[in-house]
């Protein structure tokens, strides 16, 4: 009997996670009456990553908000730089009961280089974003570079000798931009995740690594130097001493990373507003900001208009780059 009960619990868990995807009462919902049912939130990455952690925090905060009052079912649909999850979100009914998230750099690179995309830039409504972060470039203990300049002069004298760990295609573009700007040649070593890159640089298997700024705290006191950040301004909250690439004399444009909450095109305006308002309310609370800080995330709220401008500009710039120098995307 006990066993059956337990099996029942498991089945319920699985069902809750999977099959009960917010089939809200369609059309009938009155303007102000959203949400009246549970909402599915698609995270196009597998469980355990940075986007996943932040969005789960956001979703659980929204659930607790009385004006929202419905549960949000997080479903992770990872794969192909987010393509799998975004394809599903694009196909979902635009009734507000299926929403999701994307990570700006993965998304813009995916739009340009992805194969058989069923969606384009205009397929989604970009609602808002709540965080900002940026990549940094680190040098291993064995390489011993203290500044970005030191690294560049070594690389100039030894083209192709320096190895750099990267994870993801967008980082390959960033490295290619640095190479072009500084007139150097590095050897890219692709890793499957940030953790893998961290491991190779800690073990001295590669000389450099491009990683999210949150890894800086993880390498503290282990002889790793952080040479520069890709952010437009110094990240004062976490790594005030790390110069930006621009300060080092190499301007490759800003390269910030943030997650945008999105809905499929055609989602009614009132519903989008309700989502944005709720996110604004819950993230504005000090408790939420504290939690984000503990996760090493920097709070930066962008409303619908701002996020559309920022993302749109980034996409346009990358598109131009893709046309003028397609070799950077190889």
């Amino acid at each position: 009997m006990k066993k059956f009960l337990a099996i029942g619990v498991i089945v319920a868990c699985v069902l809750m996670n999977g099959f009960s995807q917010g089939t809200g009462e369609k059309g009938e919902a009155k303007k102000t009456q959203y949400p009246t049912n549970k909402v599915e939130f698609i995270i196009p990455y597998s469980t355990g990553g940075g986007t996943d952690a932040l969005m789960r925090l956001l979703c659980s905060a929204m659930e607790q908000e009385t004006s929202w009052g419905q549960s949000i079912i997080v479903s992770n649909k990872g794969g192909g730089l987010g393509q799998v999850g975004l394809t599903e979100l694009n196909a979902a009914k635009p009734d507000g009961y299926t929403i999701g998230v994307l990570s700006n750099n993965d998304y813009t690179v995916l739009l340009l280089t992805g194969k058989n995309l069923s969606f384009g830039y205009d397929s989604f409504q970009y609602l808002c974003s709540i965080n900002t972060t940026a990549n940094v470039i680190m040098a291993s203990k064995q390489a011993g570079f203290k500044t970005f300049g030191e690294m560049v002069s070594y690389a100039k004298a030894n083209p192709g000798k320096l190895t750099v760990s990267i994870s993801g295609k967008n980082m390959a573009v960033q490295v290619a931009l640095i190479e072009r700007e500084a007139g150097i040649k590095l050897t890219q070593v692709m890793q499957t995740s940030g953790g893998e890159s961290l491991k190779t640089i800690l073990g001295g298997h590669t000389d450099l690594a491009i990683l999210d700024k949150k890894f800086v705290a993880q390498v503290a006191g282990q002889g790793i130097n952080t040479l520069a950040t890709f952010a437009s301004q110094r990240i004062k909250a976490v790594i005030p001493d790390v110069p930006t690439l621009k300060e080092c004399g190499y301007d490759i444009g800003t390269n910030e990373t943030y997650r945008v909450i999105i809905a499929p095109k055609g989602t009614p305006k009132e519903i989008c507003e309700k989502i944005v308002d709720t996110i604004k309310t819950v993230t504005d609370k000090q408790e939420f900001k504290d939690k984000m800080m503990k996760m090493d995330e920097i709070y930066l709220y962008r409303d619908t208009q701002l996020v559309n401008e920022t993302l749109g500009n980034e996409y346009k710039q990358l598109q131009q780059l893709y046309v003028t120098s397609p070799e950077l995307f190889k």
């Binding site: 498991i10 469980t47 789960r56 058989n116 069923s118 499957t192 073990g203 298997h205």
Partner: protein, 498 residues
């Protein structure tokens, strides 16, 4: 320090702590035992529950699930020949034949005792040697990991069955499957046939569930006999004798525990690879290697011991460096992040209570698991009395739910069914399926590490063979590979001589 230790122990042994730990272990065993559900899925599903708990308790529950699931797979592997996960694939090779001889209870008891020993070994190693082990993990760069993968692939020799050609065919099929999807080095698509789902690659659960569980059920279906699954256990059974039997095999136990812990520590690997390598190594040194595949006790003990030892091992790089050692600990790392706890070197300084309660919690988990496993034997074997007409639909349903829930993907259900039929085809032609799973698990890792090695060697201007081989750790791994190959050749010769 002492107060922290005391506080951690107080949490672990508090009524709430024990209840949550037991809950985790029981759920873990169930998740492991259901084909298709495993530790990763279990931890991911219960993740939201931990938001409301204190970090110490939440982590303890997830640790319990992980520990329990690493053992649970052996139950369905032994009784139904349906290992839902790669971790238990080797256990089925000997556990199920043993059950078919009417010794299901013995097989189950060997599995739980070995799992317990491995679990304790891995956790104790984690408690005592985390700094040293994490230093060791960092020494494993792409060249060393490439050789570890080759050692893993060499294990195929010990699961060939009668025909070498069929064994090689099976592993080659697995390697081929691992190529499908986005190439992780160049980000180009391979063998994807313009299908979006293939572009993100095949995943392990649908393949292993299809090949093992679904194909086994299809096989039963076509037998047209509504009978019991296998022989009901006969004779008297005393757990005491099983303990003696297991602990009599000190060498196998110890070497499997060490292999499991070390493989667990290496980021990107996990319990499945650990159990495969331990299995191969056990067959090489076992005194009864001719029994392997027919119900060898060593063949149950080695993989079960290793995959539970990998649990403790996989927490080492997570706690000390912030790098998860396996896919399950990657999800647990996410759980910590949501609580605002960032794994890494500062974890033990900033959140010592969390670290210690996880460590002691895991030890308690192993004890709960042992008790559940031993007292559960009687209950588990009852499944053998259930008629196949009830078993088959139940296993099929759970398998498909499990296949769906690993990536929330309908496509994966299709993949599972297709692989069910492929597995049936393999069985009908006496082609072993375990090498396919082995090849699939190791294929992409082998390729990535080789290609990374080639890139780095070229940048440094060192010839690739020299770059891979002339490194201290490489030489040790190379020795293991030579021993495995030599053992395989010797066994093949002996089989021929018979």
């Amino acid at each position: 320090m002492q107060t922290i230790l005391f506080n951690a122990l107080a949490i672990v042994f508090s009524p709430m702590g024990l209840v949550i730990n037991t809950f985790g272990v029981v759920l873990g065993i169930l998740f492991g035992a259901m084909p298709g559900l495993n530790g990763v899925v279990g931890v991911a599903l219960l993740l939201p529950l931990t938001y409301k708990l204190r970090p110490e308790l939440g982590l303890m529950m997830l640790g319990g699930i992980y520990m329990g699931a690493s053992y649970g797979g052996s139950i369905s592997a032994i009784l139904l020949n349906c290992p839902g996960t790669g971790e238990a694939a080797c256990t089925a090779l000997n556990g199920n034949p043993m059950a078919k001889q009417g010794k299901a209870r013995e097989a189950l008891s060997y599995a739980i005792i070995a799992s317990w020993f491995g679990g304790v070994f891995g956790v104790v190693a984690m408690i005592l040697f985390t700094p040293a082990l994490s230093k060791m993990a960092l020494k494993f760069g792409p060249p060393e990991l490439f050789l570890v993968c080759i050692a893993g692939l060499a294990v195929v020799g010990s699961m060939m069955g009668k025909s070498i050609a069929k064994g090689f065919f099976s592993i080659a099929f697995g390697l081929l499957l691992s190529i499908v999807g986005m190439d992780k080095i160049s980000c180009n698509y391979r063998f994807t046939f313009n299908n979006m789902y293939l572009q993100s690659g095949l995943s392990l659960i649908p393949i292993s569930v299809g090949l093992f569980a679904i194909s086994e059920m299809l096989n039963l279906l076509t037998q047209q006999k509504d009978s019991q699954l296998i022989t009901e256990p006969t004779g008297a059974f005393h757990a005491r004798y099983s303990f003696q039997e297991v602990f009599h095999r000190k060498r196998i136990l110890l070497q499997s525990a060490i292999i499991g812990t070390i493989i667990g520590v290496l980021p990107g690997t996990g319990g499945a690879i650990a159990s495969f390598i331990a299995y191969g190594e056990a067959k090489r040194v076992s005194k009864q290697h001719e029994l392997f595949g027919k119900g060898a006790i060593d063949g149950i003990i080695a993989p079960e011991c290793a995959n539970n030892a990998a649990v403790g091992g996989s927490f080492v790089p997570l706690l000390s460096l912030g790098i998860p050692g396996s896919s399950t600990s990657a999800v647990i790392s996410g759980a910590l992040a949501i609580q605002g706890i960032i794994p890494g070197p500062r974890l033990i300084i900033d959140h010592a209570n969390v670290v210690y309660s996880l460590m002691f919690g895991l030890l308690v988990s192993t004890m709960i698991m042992l008790a559940m496993g031993i007292y559960g034997i009687k209950g588990f074997t009852k499944i053998l009395k259930v008629k196949t007409k009830y078993i088959i639909p139940a296993v099929l349903v759970f398998s498909l739910i499990g296949a769906y829930s690993s990536r929330n993907s309908i496509f994966d259900i299709l993949v599972t069914i297709v692989f069910g039929f492929i597995g049936l085809l393999f069985k009908r032609n006496q082609i072993p399926v375990a090498p396919t799973v082995l090849g699939f698990i190791l294929g992409s890792m082998t390729e990535q590490n080789l290609r990374q090695s080639i890139t780095i060697a070229a940048a440094k201007g060192i010839p690739i063979v020299k770059f891979i081989i002339f490194r201290p750790i490489s030489l040790v791994v190379l020795l293991l590979i030579v021993l495995l190959f030599w053992g395989n050749i010797k066994m093949i010769r002996m089989d021929k001589g018979e």
